[in-house]
């Protein structure tokens, strides 16, 4: 009797399920239409645009100086990097040289911003995986300390508007540097705390080891950048391959894994990047030169010379760049953002196929997508 039942051919059908725009994994508003065969995902279609706020259109209708303040919202977790990308592209067009002290300050605050972004990623990733009450309090504790420091010089906790065309906005006082130094001295112990909870945790290992393997050829085809491609064996880090600012003078390694990376490797890469950013901050504090913080550029009624150009920075998610076309007027002619999350998210349709539902959030969280970066 039992063998007869085993040979019965069940007629199955595929189920289409909507993971709607509002779901508790607070990455923003992304809608996924999943075609499931039982528990396995057969096809996924991400539907974007729920946060399309027309920021490229805004770039054409605001003056250069006004637009600087508004672009922190393009990638709100790494506002310094978006400001830096815009500043770099405009300085390239206009031929502005940024003073050395301003460059060092830019590197310093942007590495602090990288740490805050990765800390938030870590907290929300563990929430997605189920560690709801407990773990996120640790990374957010450090994040609050960093945000207090950044608020002192930038004036805002999240939308810094600190890196401007030509330099930075404000020169911090001497005791600010001492407090940053104190933070960098304590921070490695804190990362050890997080690693003690997460890295060897059997639940975490079960959920992330061998899950979401991103092959090198697939990653190259989809234009993936950032920690995701570095975990698939390609050492593309803009700070080393096309060095900008003062990165040639700083000592740091490109964190690469020599194999096809899975989710655990991407997690580990970000932890190591946090440690590395800590080291970069220490070096910047030691090597900070004296001098001006802003190039001589008229702020009100600012105009950028005619031409077009593309400049990019290495943001926590990948290569963040903007393609600017200017006519010499007071408003840009075309402002196109190249967002790493937009390009990294397109690889999701390859990664999620033939994985069970439970792995969706693990894989999606490890790509580290931020929705306004996708939708602009």
């Amino acid at each position: 009797m039992a063998t007869e039942l085993q040979n019965v051919d069940l007629k199955t059908d595929e189920m289409i399920i909507n993971m709607g725009p509002q779901h508790p994994a607070t990455h923003g508003v992304l809608r996924l239409i999943l075609t499931l065969d039982g528990e396995m995902v057969r096809h996924v279609e991400p539907i974007l645009g729920h946060l399309h706020r027309a920021q490229e259109w805004q770039g054409q209708n605001r003056t250069w100086f006004q637009y600087q303040a508004l672009i922190d919202r393009v990638d709100y977790l790494s506002g310094m990097f978006t400001s830096w990308a815009m500043a770099r592209s405009c300085e390239q067009l206009d031929g502005i040289t940024v003073p050395r002290r301003a460059e060092y300050l830019r590197v310093l605050v942007s590495e602090m911003n990288r740490i805050t972004s990765h800390l938030l990623w870590l907290g929300t990733y563990l929430i997605d995986l189920g560690a709801m009450f407990g773990f996120p309090f640790y990374p957010f504790r450090e994040r609050e300390k960093l945000l207090d420091l950044l608020e002192e010089i930038a004036g805002q906790r999240m939308m810094f508007n600190y890196i401007r065309i030509g330099g930075v906005q404000r020169d911090p006082k001497a005791d600010w540097f001492q407090r940053v130094k104190k933070f960098t001295d304590e921070f490695p112990q804190r990362i050890d705390e997080y690693e003690a909870i997460v890295t060897e945790n059997p639940i975490f290992l079960k959920r992330t080891k061998g899950v979401g393997i991103l092959k090198q050829s697939v990653a190259k085809d989809y234009g993936v950048t950032g920690p995701c491609i570095r975990c698939s064996g390609i050492p593309l880090d803009l700070r080393r391959t096309k060095p900008y600012s003062v990165f040639p003078e700083l000592k740091f390694d490109v964190i690469t894994y020599d194999k096809e990376g899975d989710t655990w490797d991407r997690y580990m890469a970000r932890i190591l990047e946090m440690r590395q950013s800590n080291e970069i901050i220490k070096q910047c504090l030691d090597m900070m030169p004296e001098g001006e913080i802003m190039a001589k550029k008229q702020m009100a009624g600012m105009r950028i010379k005619a031409g077009e150009g593309f400049a990019a920075v290495e943001s926590p998610r990948g290569i963040l760049g903007c393609y600017v076309t200017s006519t010499g007027g007071e408003k840009p002619f075309r402002f196109r953002w190249r967002n790493p999350s937009f390009c990294n998210l397109s690889v999701l349709s390859e990664l999620l196929v033939d994985s069970p539902i439970a792995d969706i959030m693990a894989i999606f969280g490890s790509i580290d997508v931020i929705l306004p970066d996708v939708d602009r």
């Binding site: 607070t26 259109w57 938030l120 907290g123």
Partner: protein, 243 residues
């Protein structure tokens, strides 16, 4: 649209021969009337309890969502004010804290979420984008203020507002809950629903049809008018035309 209409008429009339088999169906209306009578006494206690346990929905669209997360964490703890957990499903949430820009594509989803929340529900419009469109005030795809689509109780300006500001808004909302009369709120909020159901055949709002039926029922129960059946009316018209 309040239940007060039927209360004024009184209990429905039950004939003597049916008293054994007919149960009083207006019991919940009676309890409601009792509640309304006792509400000056119960309300302060109930409102105090309700205000100290407002559970928000995890609705984070964009940048303000990060400040919402920060306010739930240990530095600016929101659970000391009663918002212990953020519920993921609107069916279990008391308050929606619209953290983030609402675009035209997202607006139907937000209305659906708001409709799914059970009463009493509150809305805090957080951030400049949800109050008036904020910095996207001439953008083609942003809804200029979430109060165009759902009713808002507290407006919280900022871009993004600091976590202390979110706590301030929550305290103002708690103050508002403590001083309100729940029955008045029920009557008022029912009229503010965004969605109105329309009867397929007649094209009229279902609420209006229900109101008409209630008024006819009141008139009959008060004694006097008879309900004119539509078929009898048509027969009368047809016979008139023949004549």
């Amino acid at each position: 649209m309040s239940e007060g209409n039927l209360i004024k008429v009184g209990s429905p009339y039950v004939p003597d021969e049916l008293k054994d088999t007919v149960t009083l169906t207006s019991l919940d209306h009676a309890i409601d009337a009792l509640g309304e009578l006792l509400s000056p006494v119960i309300s302060p206690v109930a409102n105090l309890a309700r205000s100290n346990s407002v559970w928000p929905l995890t609705f984070g669209t964009s940048c303000c969502a990060i400040e919402m997360m920060c306010v739930g964490m240990s530095a600016f703890d929101i659970s000391r004010f009663g918002s212990e957990v953020f519920r993921a499903t609107p069916r279990q949430a008391d308050m929606i804290l619209t953290a983030g820009t609402i675009t035209r594509k997202m607006a139907p989803a937000l209305i659906t979420l708001y409709e799914q929340m059970p009463e009493p529900k509150y809305v805090i419009a957080m951030g400049a984008c949800t109050i008036t469109g904020g910095m996207f005030n001439d953008s083609y795809s942003v809804v200029q203020g979430v109060d165009r689509i759902i009713p808002v109780d507290v407006y919280l300006p900022g871009c993004p507002p600091r976590p202390e500001a979110i706590l301030d808004a929550l305290l103002k909302l708690q103050q508002k809950i403590r001083t309100e009369n729940y029955h008045e709120r029920k009557k008022r909020t029912y009229n503010q629903r965004a969605v109105r159901y329309v009867d397929y055949d007649t094209g009229k709002l279902v609420d209006d049809l229900v109101e008409e039926a209630r008024q006819e029922a009141d008139a009959v129960l008060a004694g006097g008018a008879t309900i004119a059946l539509k078929s009898e009316e048509k027969q009368a018209e047809a016979s008139e035309k023949k004549d």
